[in-house]
């Protein structure tokens, strides 16, 4: 038992280190692209953790997670585009995105969470496809395939001077300009950290144990007095709301929203891979899975570029390591990870390598 606690502790330390790096990343990594990566990691941690509530804790398989992510993002995007950049519009957009998510989640939940899991998964798949089609068809609202570009509220605009020095120029702290960009980054960081913390509270609450009980033995959970369909619907709504909020935050950060950044099935697959790599039902695994995947997506090609150059003298190898083949290598890495960490990285560390 003590060993399990130590192992859990080491997972927490890894995850908290990631959060610590994210906290200081504008100061540690001053390249624009690096801060872009940090913000994407923060948002995807929340997205993956909320998906873990469904698949890892409750045993619900849904393919509609990016749909809810998209509802939040499109809510903010449409509001900022139509009404103009202000916190009023932002709040309205976020609340609309969340409201639509809650209504759709309740409808899907009550209609189909009482039937077979496979049927539920199909329904979510259908709903997500409809959302994707709608987003590209209703192009006067959504910008169609091209998406929308809009401005963020003033505070978060790159041109905003957050702090100024004596001459009225943007103040620099440790060489980092205190402008709207840094405000935008910390807006992302703080909202994502709060949502992750809230989800930790949920899994550590009595409700969290009920969710696991439903995953483990739905019949007995019902038998001791838990209305399983109500609990499933509730967690589906919680996860949908969180995904929508994450979408709203991401849309604010990117100042662009389109099918490829939010709704696409490619992102749904990313989320699935991240939750599997991190470890299902661990919550902390979301941090590890999201970080590794996003890093690989951004840097694997660069890394291969370097490797391919370094091996120029050797036959065949530079070919194999050509950056064009990065997806192949991502696949290989993924297979190796699943082989060596069958319960995901966090899950395997906690449970130990035996079994």
């Amino acid at each position: 038992m003590n060993r399990t606690m130590n192992r859990t502790l080491s997972v927490k330390i890894i995850a908290l280190t990631v959060w610590g790096l994210l906290l200081f990343s504008p100061f540690l990594f001053q390249d624009v692209r690096q801060v872009e990566v940090a913000a994407r990691i923060a948002v995807f941690i929340v997205l993956v953790a909320s998906y873990d509530l469904l698949i890892g804790y409750t045993g619900i398989v849904s393919f509609a997670h990016t749909m809810f992510f998209g509802f939040g993002a499109y809510g903010v995007a449409i509001a900022l585009k139509q009404i103009g950049p202000g916190w009023g519009a932002w709040t309205l957009g976020t609340l609309s995105g969340v409201a639509v998510s809650i209504v759709v989640a309740i409808l899907i939940g009550l209609l189909s969470l009482r039937v077979k899991a496979i049927f539920f998964a199909m329904i979510t798949l259908a709903a997500a496809s409809v959302a994707l089609v709608l987003a590209s068809q209703l192009s006067q609202f959504t910008g169609g395939e091209d998406g929308m570009i809009y401005s963020a509220p003033d505070l978060l605009k790159p041109s905003t001077k957050l702090l100024t020095d004596a001459e009225g120029d943007v103040l620099r702290i440790f060489d980092v300009r205190m402008n709207g960009k840094i405000a935008a980054y910390y807006f992302v960081f703080i909202t994502c950290a709060l949502m992750f913390w809230a989800m930790l509270r949920i899994v550590g609450s009595p409700l969290g144990t009920v969710l696991k009980a439903i995953r483990e033995n739905e019949g007995r959970a019902e038998g001791i007095g838990y209305r399983v369909v109500a609990y499933r619907t509730a967690v589906f709504v919680i996860a949908a709301t969180t995904a929508a909020l994450a979408g709203a935050v991401y849309a604010t950060w990117l100042r662009y929203t389109g099918p490829d950044t939010t709704l696409s099935f490619a992102i749904m697959i990313d989320i699935l891979l991240m939750v599997v790599i991190g470890g299902m039902g661990t919550m902390w695994g979301a941090v590890i899975g999201a970080t590794l995947m996003v890093l690989a997506q951004y840097y694997l090609r660069d890394l291969m570029e370097v490797a391919s150059r370094a091996t120029e003298a050797i036959p065949l190898l530079p070919e194999l390591l050509s950056p064009d083949r990065w997806l192949l290598w991502l696949g290989i890495i993924f297979i190796l990870l699943v082989y060596f960490f069958p319960a995901g990285i966090a899950g395997t560390i906690i449970r130990g390598r035996t079994k």
Binding site: A198, S205, T209, G219, G223, I224, G225
Partner: protein
């Protein structure tokens, strides 16, 4: 006599052409422990399943204190005080023994809906779970996953879950089956304790004759899904009809 706490009227279920329970009408009273006997496949477990809500009857009704439960889901029946332990161990395998019991405790107290309070802060919940851990002598295994327990302890945990629900109706389905002789008394003592409360209604499926003799206030006999005898334990056990039923199953009643 007091009003029945639980009654079934013409309770019937058919699986395809096979009638597993056939028009069973029976009243159960608070403070009374009824043992249900019958050969394998008689329909005892199926009868239980219709009372606690795992199966919906083809015909007939189930009432508790005058409330019609027949169409209610199992969870609602549990909240109305119908508690059930299963013949085939039916636990939450990867959750710890303590978590298993706490789940039943928090279902009963209504804390299961709390979604933001850390479990560790709900000391009352923990204390209550501890009590049932001790009552079933599982304290030193509290942190083990239920699946890792030896069979006898899993049976005890099964009973602990039922106790922790604190129901009005206790339904035990062969609680000591497969248990070693030194474990069985733990469970039987608990059942005896519930019986001495005199306010609870206990239904017990049990084959072991010494257990039946020690605990039963009343015996009912199911055979091919039908209720064929009902009454005082001594009379029922010595009646011709029971001997006939068990003739082909000699050794069943030991």
């Amino acid at each position: 006599m007091t009003h029945p706490s639980l009654s079934t009227r013409d309770l019937t279920i058919r699986f395809g052409g096979h009638t597993a329970v056939n028009a069973v009408t029976c009243d159960f009273h608070p403070g009374e422990l009824t043992v249900i006997v019958g050969p394998n496949g008689a329909g005892k477990t199926t009868y239980f399943n219709m009372i606690s809500g795992q199966l919906m009857p083809s015909e007939g009704t189930v009432e508790k204190d005058g409330l019609d439960l027949t169409r209610m889901p199992a969870s609602t029946r549990a909240r109305h005080g119908v508690g059930r332990a299963f013949q085939l161990t039916n636990l939450f395998p990867h959750l710890s023994v303590l978590e298993n019991i706490r789940l039943a405790v928090q279902a009963q107290s209504g804390d299961g809906r709390r979604f933001f309070t850390p479990v560790t802060r709900l000391t009352e919940l923990a204390a209550k779970a501890e009590r049932y851990l001790e009552a079933t002598r599982l304290s030193d295994r509290a942190d083990m996953p239920a699946a890792a327990l030896p069979h006898g302890d899993q049976r005890k945990l099964e009973v602990a879950l039922l106790m922790a629900m604190e129901p009005d109706i206790y339904m035990f389905d062969e609680p000591t089956a497969g248990m070693s002789l030194d474990h069985a008394p733990d469970v039987l003592d608990l059942i005896a304790e519930i019986k001495h409360d005199h306010t609870k209604t206990v239904l017990l499926v049990e084959h072991k004759m010494d257990v039946v003799r020690a605990l039963a206030d009343r015996i009912i006999v199911l055979h091919n899904g039908e209720l064929i005898a009902d009454g005082d334990p001594g009379e029922v056990m010595s009646s011709q009809i029971v001997k006939d039923v068990y003739l082909g199953n000699a050794g069943e009643l030991t």
